[in-house]
């Protein structure tokens, strides 16, 4: 499937430094709207670093420096006038390890809408929470215990809770950093199904160390190695007809 619409996110010549360490070198990539883009590559190659550029989470890391430009809908997100806090409401993130807050399930989901003032009355908030939990495929499992702690759920449920929490603020882009690496195969399958559903409404970027997962869930794939974007294209092309030898070696399991 080829995506011909205008890209949602355009990254140009992005470089990231951690102190003296040059972690990401001249990466340029286009992220299509309402599709899943996968970042693959051996660990330490800079996938997470690049992902964290899209919501400026690298700003919170001491000593990290980002150079280059990233545009979302033609707006430069590294523009000094742009408020990174506002940006993060538009670009949600799901982390490697499920990290629900030690609060009730309801409060976990209501957290974002509350700080951004998205609900004006109590029924509005309930509406947002329920629909977010529904979209994350979690509502049926937790509808009787919305006011119990979110940390009491299973790992897979916690991760779906984190997804519900992210979509509760209606982001345009959702970043997922190895969202299944701490989960068992069944919970992983649930999340992959969910990603396929979310694709209809959100632009998704997922980092994964599993090539099968990239092949299953994504439409486009970018392969990174040692801080360099080696190759990028439709997932079908990358997996069936890679142009670069390093890509081929990696997807056939010769290193990584």
């Amino acid at each position: 499937m080829s995506v011909q619409t205008k890209p949602k996110v355009v990254a140009k010549d992005v470089n990231v430094y951690y102190g003296d360490k040059h972690a990401l070198k001249n990466v340029s990539v286009n992220i299509p709207e309402r599709a899943v883009t996968a970042f693959i590559g051996p660990s330490g190659c800079g996938k997470s670093t690049f992902l964290r550029c899209f919501n400026r989470m690298n700003d919170t890391v001491d000593g990290a420096r980002v150079v280059g430009s990233i545009q979302i809908d033609d707006q430069d997100i590294y523009d000094p006038d742009l408020d990174p806090v506002q940006l993060r409401a538009r670009v949600g993130m799901v982390f490697q390890k499920p990290n629900p807050f030690p609060k009730s399930i309801f409060e976990n989901v209501a957290y974002g809408p509350r700080i951004h003032g998205l609900a004006h009355a109590k029924p509005d908030m309930e509406e947002i929470v329920v629909s977010s939990l529904r979209k994350a495929g979690l509502f049926e499992e937790v509808k009787d215990r919305l006011h119990e702690s979110g940390t009491g759920l299973s790992g897979g449920q916690q991760q779906r809770l984190c997804i519900a929490r992210a979509i509760a603020v209606s982001p345009e882009v959702i970043l997922m950093d190895e969202p299944c690496s701490a989960l068992d195969p069944i919970a992983t399958a649930r999340i992959e199904e969910l990603i396929a559903e979310l694709r209809e409404n959100f632009t998704i970027v997922i980092v994964t160390h599993s090539m099968q997962q990239a092949a299953r869930v994504s439409q486009r794939t970018a392969f990174f190695h040692l801080g360099i974007l080696v190759e990028e294209g439709t997932t079908d092309d990358i997996f069936t007809n890679p142009q670069e030898k390093r890509t081929q070696d990696y997807i056939t399991g010769r290193f990584g």
């Binding site: 001491d62 806090v85 993060r88 409401a89 982390f95 974002g112």
Partner: protein
């Protein structure tokens, strides 16, 4: 003096034993062409321990037995009236005889019997100290030789040394526990005696504290705990009002905002505050804080005494700040970074993240720190003695002088004492009350803190 020589000699002998053990193990290994089970140093340590432990054990045992023998020597051949002595009188007699025997003499003239007993005692002690040295030396050398002969390549010296170390560690912990038990027991006994003079209800619920004037007996209402407890609580509350907000802000700043270099410098500097002796805080209160508060109050037409609950509370609060800030800082930094990232990634600011995620997550631990600080404040003595004005009257005005439980213990238990009157025995009852309160607080606090730690295993 001979004891120190003896101990020194034993230690030297142990050093020699170590060398012998290590050397012997190498020789044995070479002779039998076998690998040693343990390192030569383990064999050395084993021999040294075998040399030292029996001898020191004997010396310790002897130090317990000697007073019994001394009493027996003093009493033997005594006239019936002296043989019938017991308790403090006997101890006094033994003390006098021992002093004469050791050549220091006593202030008044010694009786004929005392002199005669002293002569016997000094003979006895001469023989005994010689015997002690001989026995200790025999045990040491015997242990050394015995251990040396045991050395074979198969001997598991390393495990044996390990076992001895374990026992030593257990003994040390036992000493600490027994000390606590001993303190509590001694307070307990005296408290029971106090309650034979004063009705517990009058003590725990009495509204008046005026121990001096009841010495003629009767007036038991004068031992009321309530005014003191009220003073303690008032000062503690003031101290917490000062320490908790400031300490918590320091902790938040250090944990969440400060640059790592600022943190590495500021944290120990703040903790330095905790190392200042409380008596220094006391005169800081007297010379600086008290007069300042009193002048400051005058600006608003408020009558604030220089030595008042407020002064003592404020200064105690300053003393407790590092306590709160350091514990809370540890607890806040223990909240996983993933919580922080999760909140920031949802588009909340730093302070929103702290207020809505970090502090709630850290709350149980902070409550634990708070309770530990409260128990610290309740037990604090010196600042209160100097700055609270010592007025054991029940009132609710923080600008007036108060007295606390600790101050009253000091007042009752300093100066000339006979531990038979309720005036001094009440000190133990107060001490035990304080102990129970702080123990309760500590138990609750440690329980909360532990629960909190488990949450993030």
């Amino acid at each position: 003096m001979s004891n120190y020589l003896l101990i020194g000699g034993l230690l030297i002998l142990m050093g020699v034993a170590y060398q012998y053990g290590a050397r012997r193990s190498r020789a044995v290994s070479k002779a039998s062409a076998k690998h040693l089970h343990s390192l030569p140093s383990h064999y050395g340590a084993m021999v040294a321990l075998a040399c030292g432990i029996p001898a020191f054990g004997f010396l310790i045992l002897w130090s317990f037995l000697q007073p019994i023998f001394v009493a027996w020597v003093v009493k033997s051949g005594a006239p019936p009236d002296i043989a019938a002595l017991s308790g403090p009188d006997l101890n006094q007699l033994i003390g006098r005889v021992t002093s004469i025997a050791s050549g220091y003499g006593v202030s008044d003239t010694a009786s004929a019997f005392e002199r005669e007993a002293a002569g016997r005692l000094s003979n006895f002690l001469n023989i005994v100290s010689l015997a002690k040295i001989v026995v200790a030396a025999c045990l040491a050398v015997g242990g050394l030789v015995f251990a040396l002969r045991r050395i074979t390549p198969q001997l598991r010296a390393r495990n044996e040394v390990e076992g001895v170390i374990r026992i030593v560690l257990i003994l040390c912990s036992t000493v600490a526990i027994l000390t606590t038990v001993g303190i509590v027991m001694s307070m307990f006994g005296e408290t029971i005696r106090f309650f034979s003079f004063v009705n517990p209800i009058d003590f725990f619920f009495g509204l008046n504290w005026n121990p001096r004037f009841s010495s003629t007996g009767g007036g038991s209402g004068d031992f009321g705990l309530i005014p003191l407890l009220a003073g303690t609580i008032m000062i503690t509350v003031i101290a917490m009002l000062v320490a908790v907000p400031v300490g918590l802000m320091i902790a938040i700043y250090l944990a969440e905002y400060a640059h790592p270099t600022v943190r590495t410098i500021a944290k120990p500097v703040i903790e330095l505050l905790a190392g200042i002796p409380t008596i220094v805080f006391g005169f800081f209160a007297l010379t600086a804080v008290g007069p300042f508060l009193s002048d400051f109050g005058a600006l608003f037409g408020l009558q604030i005494r220089a030595t008042s609950a407020l002064t003592a509370g404020v200064v105690m609060g300053m003393m407790i700040i590092p306590f709160i800030s350091s514990l809370s800082d540890d607890i806040i930094t223990q909240v996983p970074g993933a919580m922080r990232d999760g909140s920031l990634a949802l588009g909340s600011t730093r302070s929103e993240t702290i207020k809505k995620v970090i502090l709630p997550a850290a709350l149980p631990g902070i409550v634990g720190a708070f309770l530990l600080a409260v128990s610290r404040a309740i037990g604090e003595t010196m600042i209160v003695v100097m700055a609270a004005g010592n007025s054991p009257v029940l009132h609710a005005n923080p600008f007036e002088a108060v007295a606390t439980v600790t101050v009253s213990i000091v007042n009752q238990l300093t100066g000339d004492l006979d531990f038979a009157s309720p005036q001094s025995l009440v000190g133990f009852a107060l001490g035990l009350t304080l102990f129970v309160i702080t123990l309760g607080l500590n138990v609750v606090a440690l329980y909360i803190v532990r629960k909190y730690r488990e949450q993030y295993e």
